[in-house]
């Protein structure tokens, strides 16, 4: 483990080794590919956020008269498609994972660097096709594309939207393929599975889900596209087809997909909690095993999205029980992070603030998941704002916070610059407040009966809706600030030392920014992860 070094920008590193657009667009360096992804998903995040803004503006009044009902349907559909497929799923894995994972295993690059680049191009093509679909008229089926509306009755750009999503799916599969191969085959000498940082365990589990789940939604959407184009298909009730079969195939992936969205975020939290409390993780094996358990159990619960769709009550009971089981490993992680904090030397830097935010908000989101997993409760709250609030607590309160925490934490590693701590803390605070003001009222709205995906609502719900919209405007400010100060810091930020956080992570044992080949010599790992107790000399230098 290296001692903290003086803050000098290294002479040659992956950013300045080559200049020009070709050196970026034809790169096979996993770090540059991570940056390319970062730019792309930031663009998509703000596009998805734009749709969210219009949704919340429309919902300020009960009559919902900002946009027509048809337009509103397109807004929530496109918000969902862009946020799910083009932001949440790639965010931590494709940006942070691509950048950091090879370094964490002590390798020079991913197992398949060209496939890594291909995965980014798949993403960009998918995003372009999706944006095309939006610009020429949009799609209004919901991101869930339920049949027979999507196959037969919708008059919008369903086919091209599906093609865009299929490209994003391929991007995801190639990313997962690289993660699995890299972790299995390219670990540095001495890096056993038990010594791996937990971010690696989480991303490994994520990759397994990407490999096994994505192809099923791909075929489900291909079947919808085929039925739409040739007017023949297997979901058409007139022929004896079952629309619910589409839902089985769709949710077989889309439920595990939410674990694709949250597992890497949990991996980030494990890194942040240990670094910023200078402590080993409590119960390493349990946290690692919990990642695998979440991936496996996550495949057993998809029917809980279909409780009121017409599946058999016995099948619903099975899925409900499974849904309770899948909460257990997530709870284990929350307990273990909390126990790690106990008697730790806690530092309240921005990444840690985001970690705290995640732990609290993810717990709330997860607990409300138990409410909807109960059949009796779900009958009442399904398709209401209760569900909307539940998943936004996890996706936004959880994943987005973890993503922002990760960006701040690894920013010095990526760019050799520190972000401005004051502004960063302020933004984190604004985001936390804005988030809760936006989404907590939605639990109440849902419980009181306001349906989701409705452009208008009963007037007694207006106060809570206005509060939610006000929260959304605060949240928007919170998200815009990092965009500004992070870009500012690239030029004017304080130059970062190699390891500003004094972290024991393998990625921090090389310069910041790293050279293209990551390490001057392949490292040899001799200790378990997070061995802060053995290295009191490691400390913050930022």
């Amino acid at each position: 483990m290296s001692a903290p070094s003086v803050a000098v920008e290294p002479r040659e590193h992956y950013l300045n080794v080559d200049y020009g657009i070709r050196s970026w667009l034809l790169t096979t360096d996993h770090k540059r590919i991570g940056i390319l992804y970062m730019i792309s998903i930031t663009v998509m995040f703000f596009i998805g956020g734009f749709f969210a803004t219009l949704i919340r503006l429309n919902l300020m009044t009960p009559a919902g008269d900002l946009v027509s009902a048809d337009t509103y349907n397109k807004l929530f559909t496109m918000h969902g498609i862009v946020m799910v497929f083009f932001f949440l799923i790639p965010s931590v894995p494709a940006v942070i994972g691509n950048f950091v994972l090879p370094m964490m295993v002590g390798a020079r690059d991913m197992a398949f660097p060209k496939i890594n680049l291909l995965s980014w191009y798949m993403y960009v093509i998918g995003a372009a096709i999706t944006l095309y679909s939006i610009i020429v008229g949009g799609v209004d089926t919901g991101w869930t594309f339920y049949t027979p509306f999507s196959t037969t009755y919708s008059n919008t750009y369903v086919f091209s939207s599906i093609v865009g999503i299929l490209f994003a799916g391929f991007s995801s599969i190639f990313t997962g393929l690289n993660f699995i191969a890299t972790i299995h085959k390219l670990r540095a000498p001495g890096l056993t599975w038990r010594r791996m940082q937990l971010f690696l365990w989480s991303n490994y589990a994520t990759a397994v889900i990407m490999i096994l789940g994505t192809p099923v939604v791909a075929i489900a959407l291909i079947l919808v596209a085929v039925e739409r184009v040739w007017h023949i298909g297997i979901f058409n009730p007139a022929l004896g087809g079952d629309p619910v079969l589409f839902q089985h195939l769709f949710w077989f992936y889309s439920h595990p997909a939410v674990y694709v969205m949250v597992l890497p975020a949990m991996g980030v939290i494990s890194e942040l909690v240990t670094t910023f409390s200078r402590k080993r993780i409590f119960g390493y094996e349990f946290v690692a095993a919990a990642s695998i358990a979440i991936a496996v159990f996550g495949f057993l619960v998809w029917g809980h999205h279909m409780f009121v769709a017409g599946i058999s009550i016995y099948s619903a009971l099975l899925f409900s029980i499974m849904s309770y089981l899948v909460a257990i490993p997530s709870a284990v992680k929350v307990f273990n992070w909390t126990a790690t904090l106990y008697k730790g030397a806690i530092s309240y830097r921005t990444p840690m603030l985001y970690a705290f935010g995640f732990i609290g908000l993810f717990t709330m989101g997860g607990l409300t998941g138990l409410f909807v997993a109960a059949l009796g409760v779900d009958i009442h709250v399904t398709d209401t704002y209760f569900v909307v609030a539940h998943f936004h607590y996890i996706m936004v309160g959880g994943t987005v916070m973890a993503y922002l925490g990760a960006i701040h934490y690894w920013w010095p590693k990526m760019f050799g610059r520190m972000y401005p701590e004051g502004w960063a803390k302020l933004s984190a605070g604004i985001i936390f407040i804005g988030f809760n003001v936006t989404f907590f009222p939605q639990f109440l709205l849902g419980y009181l009966g306001m349906p989701r995906r409705y452009h208008a609502y009963a007037s007694e719900f207006q106060v809570l809706n206005v509060m939610s919209t006000a929260g959304a405007s605060i949240l928007a400010v919170g998200y815009l600030l990092p965009l500004i100060y992070l870009i500012w810091s690239l030029r004017y930020g304080e130059i970062a030392p190699a390891n500003p956080w004094g972290s024991t992570g393998l990625e921090w044992q090389t310069t910041s920014p790293p050279p293209t080949h990551n390490f001057e010599e392949t490292p040899t790992v001799t200790e378990e992860a997070y061995s802060y107790d053995k290295h009191p000399e490691m400390e913050f230098v930022a």
């Binding site: 096979t28 090879p102 390798a107 020079r108 690059d109 991913m110 197992a111 398949f112 660097p113 599969i173 393929l177 699995i180 191969a181 299995h184 085959k185 390219l186 490999i211 096994l212 789940g213 994505t214 192809p215 099923v216 791909a218 075929i219 489900a220 079947l223 085929v226 040739w230 007017h231 023949i232 298909g233 297997i234 007139a238 022929l239 004896g240 087809g241 079952d242 079969l245 089985h248 195939l249 077989f252 080949h517 392949t522």
Partner: protein
């Protein structure tokens, strides 16, 4: 191509970043191909799920529809693919044993079998089209067998065309891959030290054969009992 060993060692031109030696590269690439084939398994699996559901629900209609499949072409095609898998396996073996140039005739024969499969499939599709058995293109079906419903028979044919169509598309891609291997092999690219692409294309080819091994009985052999 950059090399990843410490300075001074002689490296094989096919060695890529980030590998320390060809063995590690080969093992990783083979693992990668198996993981990729898992995605293919799940994709076809979704179609098999749909097939399983509807066959269970609508057995009489599926049974009747299956009788309209061309058993001769189906059985011959199955044999063709099995032969192509043999020649592919023998070609891979030649590469493994350092007989790089012998790979070429094995690959060419594999290609011929593959093209024969697609040719027979095209003939079969044409027959179906002629008999108005292609959904969406003037589908007509009459049957006096009790329990048989035209809509459900059409479901069978939709699944038949999509499943065999997706399979045929994979065959086409396989033919492209085998052609690429043939060209590289004819240039002497494959040696005992480096021949992993041949192995991995072989894995892909065998997988596509595997899918057909299940498609054949499920689509063609529900029952051929003489009534």
């Amino acid at each position: 191509m950059s090399h990843s060993t410490e300075a001074g060692a002689v490296t094989h031109p096919a060695l890529q970043t980030p590998y320390r030696d060809l063995d590690q590269q080969r093992e990783t690439a083979t693992l990668g191909m198996f993981v990729f084939l898992l995605t293919e398994l799940m994709m076809f699996g979704g179609l098999f799920c749909a097939y399983l559901v509807y066959r269970t629900l609508y057995f009489p209609s599926f049974l009747e529809a299956s009788r309209h499949m061309d058993l001769t072409i189906g059985a011959v095609n199955t044999a063709v693919l099995i032969c192509s898998s043999l020649t592919m396996a023998l070609g891979v073996q030649a590469a493994q044993q350092g007989r790089g140039k012998t790979v070429v005739p094995y690959m060419v024969v594999t290609l011929l079998f593959g093209c024969a499969f697609l040719g027979l499939k095209a003939v079969e599709y044409y027959h179906h089209w002629h008999a108005h058995e292609v959904p969406g293109f003037g589908f007509e079906f009459t049957s006096s067998v009790p329990g048989v419903d035209v809509g459900k028979v059409q479901l069978f044919f939709v699944l038949y065309f999509i499943m065999t169509g997706l399979h045929a598309l994979h065959m086409l891609i396989g033919i492209g891959l085998v052609t690429w291997i043939t060209i590289c092999a004819s240039k002497g690219r494959y040696t005992r030290a480096y021949h992993n692409p041949v192995e991995n294309v072989g894995l892909y080819w065998h997988f596509v054969d595997l899918v057909w091994i299940y498609l054949f009985p499920l689509l063609y052999l529900i029952s051929r009992m003489h009534l």
